[in-house]
């Protein structure tokens, strides 16, 4: 453990927290140094946010101790955290758009029933804070008129106004442009100089390297490493984040690539605010191969799947699925894609892939519900639906084998197997799979991987999007890496290793860019 001088601002000792059967944080101990910027890095679901919610009093730990300035404290609510000088800037801003900066600042700290006195005092204090920390914001501007970066500054001021000496920022750059992120880091540096301790939670390695003094790496609810930032590098952190377990050995023969079944050319997707979610993405998928899309979560993979599955039309570019050309002027919908023999296992099965309140048998026909044998002349054939579900459960070993049970009552792994079974039942020619094993136990992971390989061997073109590098490496024949909405690299699976992919995923260097240029 690297030692920095003095008593740490915060010490977490053996913090443990479970949600039902999910062990989210496992015996985590870490120290936040005074007047320094501490990074906590890890993949989604590694337990970073849960840990910080415990520190901020939003959740209570099952066991463990929190020490502020060496004193053991109890965090019952955010009120306690604020009283101990801990402030949190949330990923989603907690501001009232129609109020001014000053009004937002005093919200919850009005200092009496009449506003006038409190507001005047707040104005003086705000001016002092702005001077001291170099955070310039017009106190009388309406929040709605401010840029996102400025809104974030207001959030920081809100926290400082409440006397915070320890500032927690949860994925602060998620909503910022790169320039705004750089500005934020300059602000954080000033805060550090003035003695504020900062905790930066992120999954972006670039930010850790650029802003922090010390970094903790979390994986599966545990702290797996504690490094001085200057002593480490993105490659090492990427390895630690992903874990360097041996890749699962799959009995995988070499591919027999067939004809092109899906081809994307210069696909772009721009959202309502003008953010480029997909930036000139081109890729081809052939029958009988598995293409893996690697990348840190939030770099356009979700949107890529949505566009390929026909859920969102691309802003520009063309998509060709088994001969059918899809572009802005000629959009498609998920139903038509299914008719083209394209199946899609969505990234977020609970939100998209199933209806939690439905019986398993009903979830098992989602998307195919208006096709025979499930529906004839608009009437659902209940026996056929039940029998179909029972047979899927048998083939994919879904437990318990109860087609009448509510979908939500199955474990994550069994839900995922049911969704996969549904999508693979029609022997699709194109299979898009998002996060095939997210929240799935080890036994089911192997099973799911084997089924995907089987599908490939049967001549299906499979596109797997996953944030698990290991999974990509063991499944894919060809690997594409996405960063900031772009495909930044393409590697043959035989030549890929985690270190190299991790670098590309972090956007550190767009190595060996051999993106297929498809006209």
């Amino acid at each position: 453990m690297p030692q920095l001088a003095g008593v740490p601002a915060i010490e977490l000792v053996a913090i443990d927290k479970s949600f039902g059967s999910v062990h989210a944080v496992r015996g985590v101990s870490l120290a936040i140094d005074k007047g320094a910027i501490t990074g906590i890095v890890g993949e989604n679901g590694a337990g970073k946010s849960t840990l910080m919610s415990i520190l901020y009093g939003l959740y209570r730990a099952d066991s463990g101790e929190i020490r502020v300035d060496g004193q053991s404290v109890h965090m019952e609510s955010p009120r306690d955290a604020i009283a101990h000088g801990i402030g949190m800037v949330h990923q989603h801003f907690m501001l009232i758009d129609t109020f001014t900066v000053l009004e937002n600042l005093v919200l919850g700290a009005e200092g009496g029933p009449m506003l006038a006195g409190g507001m005047a005092a707040a104005r003086t204090e705000l001016e002092r804070l702005e001077r001291e920390y170099g955070l310039s914001v017009d106190p009388d501007a309406r929040i709605a008129d401010l840029s996102v970066g400025e809104q974030q500054r207001v959030e920081i001021l809100k926290v400082l106004y409440r006397g915070a000496r320890i500032l927690i920022l949860d994925e602060p750059s998620a909503v910022l442009t790169p320039q705004e992120t750089d500005q934020l880091f300059r602000i954080l540096a000033t805060l550090k100089e003035r003695g504020v301790s900062v905790v930066l939670i992120t999954h972006k390695l670039r930010e850790i390297m650029a802003a922090t003094d010390r970094v903790y790496v979390m994986r599966q609810g545990q702290v797996v490493a504690d490094r001085r930032t200057q002593d480490t590098d993105p490659e090492a952190l990427a390895e630690l984040m992903v874990g360097r377990k041996v890749r699962l050995h799959l009995d995988k023969t070499s591919t027999r690539r067939g004809e092109v079944v899906l081809e994307a050319a210069h696909l772009s997707l721009v959202d309502g605010r003008g953010v480029r979610l997909l930036d000139d993405v081109s890729l081809t998928l052939r029958a009988g191969e598995i293409v893996g899309v690697a990348g840190v979560s939030g770099n356009g993979q979700t949107e890529l799947l949505q566009v390929l599955a026909g859920i969102r039309p691309p802003t520009s570019g063309t998509l060709t699925v088994r001969g059918r050309v899809i572009q802005t002027g000629h959009p498609s919908d998920p139903g038509e894609m299914r008719d083209l023999s394209l199946a899609h296992v969505p990234e977020d099965r609970l939100r998209q892939g199933m209806v939690a309140a439905f019986r398993a048998s009903e979830t098992a026909i989602l998307g195919y519900h208006d096709e025979p044998p499930f529906t004839r002349n608009y009437i659902l054939n209940a026996p056929a639906v039940g029998a179909h579900c029972a047979s899927l459960m048998e083939q994919f070993d879904v437990r318990p084998r109860l087609p009448g049970l509510r979908s939500a009552s199955f474990s994550g792994g069994n839900q995922q197997k049911l969704v996969l079974a549904r999508e693979m039942a029609r022997r699709p020619k194109v299979l898009l799979v998002g996060q095939p094993t997210r929240g799935v136990d080890i036994g089911a992971i192997e099973f799911i991987h084997r089924e995907l390989i089987k599908s490939r061997d049967a001549g299906c073109g499979v596109l797997v999007v996953s944030v698990e590098l290991e999974e990509i490496l063991s499944l894919a024949d060809r690997i594409l890496v996405m960063f900031a909405g772009k495909i930044v690299g393409e590697v043959d699976a035989g030549q890929a290793d985690e270190r190299m992919l991790g670098l590309m995923m972090a956007g550190a260097k767009p190595a060996r860019s051999e993106v297929e240029g498809v006209a």
Binding site: F358, L366, H369, Y378
Partner: protein
């Protein structure tokens, strides 16, 4: 540490909780009745006898029940699609206008077997059309359906007053009513139908519309749980993202759900105008559209539950009227208070006793 509360078993959720809610409402009602100086048990007896004591009172109870079934189903169908249709009142009003216009136009030319189905179809069409506008506004323009359907109730009310006073009023009449329909437009009264098969019951407003209501229950049940459209509708209600993923067009599905809902509400016009009034009158929806929300909530948006809840509301309506008649201290307004309390406890406060029941039941289990 508090023991974690386990969720209620299904039977308690479906049967016990509504009964506890009604019981709570009646306890409060009893206290209020006591305060104004009436013996609550005497009042309760009068209420029950007034609702179920004779074939006439049962007939009226079932006649009110018919309306509550229509509006309850209307709310439930929209609700399964995740849409909160507060516009049953206006849709019922327009449904009445639709069947009324059909009657005024054709009752002199068509025989009953053609005229009555025509009136039913017209009621459905007008009710659906009145619901289609808010549906369209939500699906394509993003206006919230709760707001627009509420506003459409007022528009419907104003429109009907205008039409009745200026256009449809019978020549020479002093009251805003249309001319009477001919006998061909009358949906047979239940006491006449029963008399024809040799069963004598006292005359009441109950007519064969209740058969239509029960058919609608079966139809809604088949539609929601046994057709691919109903499947898509429920998917949209539970999880719109999954519905999009499944290839469902949310816009058309919103239109479908609201049109069906409006058509069901429109059938109130059939029961009222073709079954009873025999002409177009003002204010016949009389709150059935709003009460339908409580009926649907209490009936858990399931046709069977809706029939039971509608029976309760029908009995309250009829028994309450008798109560006000027999005990001068209990005014018409008092009866509205009683109904309001039942709605409050079974709708807005429906989940109030849940934690206590959970505690009670989990204790008994352990």
């Amino acid at each position: 540490m508090r023991a974690p509360r386990r969720p209620l078993p299904a039977w308690a959720d479906v049967a016990l909780l509504p009964l506890v809610n009604i019981a709570l409402a009646f306890v409060i009602v009893g206290i209020i009745v006591r305060l104004i100086g009436v013996d609550p048990f005497h009042a309760l007896r009068l209420l029950v006898v007034g609702a179920l004591g004779s074939s006439e009172s049962i007939g009226y109870t079932l006649y009110y029940t018919t309306n509550f079934i229509f509006t309850g189903l209307a709310v439930a169908v929209a609700f399964h699609g995740g849409l909160f249709n507060i516009g049953g009142e206006g849709q019922a009003y327009l449904g009445g206008l639709g069947c009324g216009l059909a009657m005024l136009a054709f009752d002199r030319y068509l025989p009953a077997p053609i005229l009555i189905p025509l009136g039913i179809a017209a009621a459905a069409l007008f009710g659906a059309a009145w619901a289609a506008v808010p549906a369209w506004l939500q699906a394509w323009r993003g206006s919230h359906i709760v707001i627009t359907t509420i506003m459409f109730n007022f528009v419907a009310s104003a429109l009907m007053v205008y039409l009745m006073v200026n256009v449809l009023i019978a020549p020479g009449s002093m009251t805003p009513q249309s001319r009477n329909f001919t006998a061909a437009a009358k949906i047979p009264a239940m006491h006449d139908v029963l008399a024809a098969v040799g069963i004598q019951v006292a005359p009441s407003a109950l007519n064969l519309s209740i058969v239509l209501a029960l058919l609608c229950c079966v139809g809604v049940w088949i539609f929601l749980w046994h057709t691919s459209w109903g499947y898509a509708l429920r998917t949209m209600g539970h999880n719109p993202d999954a519905a999009v993923y499944a290839g469902t067009n949310l816009k058309t599905m919103t239109m479908l759900a609201m049109c069906l809902s409006g058509a069901l509400a429109g059938f109130v016009g059939v029961n009222e105008l073709m079954g009873v009034h025999q002409r177009i009158v003002l204010d016949f929806p009389a709150g059935y559209g709003f009460a339908g929300i409580a009926v649907a909530l209490m009936g858990r948006s399931h046709p069977l539950g809706i029939v039971l809840a509608a029976l309760l509301f029908g009995a309250l309506q009829q028994g309450g009227a008798e109560l006000a008649f027999d005990i001068p201290l209990i005014t018409r307004e008092m009866v509205v208070v009683i109904q309001g309390l039942v709605i409050l406890f079974s709708g807005a406060l429906a989940h109030l006793p849940r934690p206590w029941l959970q505690l009670l039941l989990s204790r008994r289990v352990s």
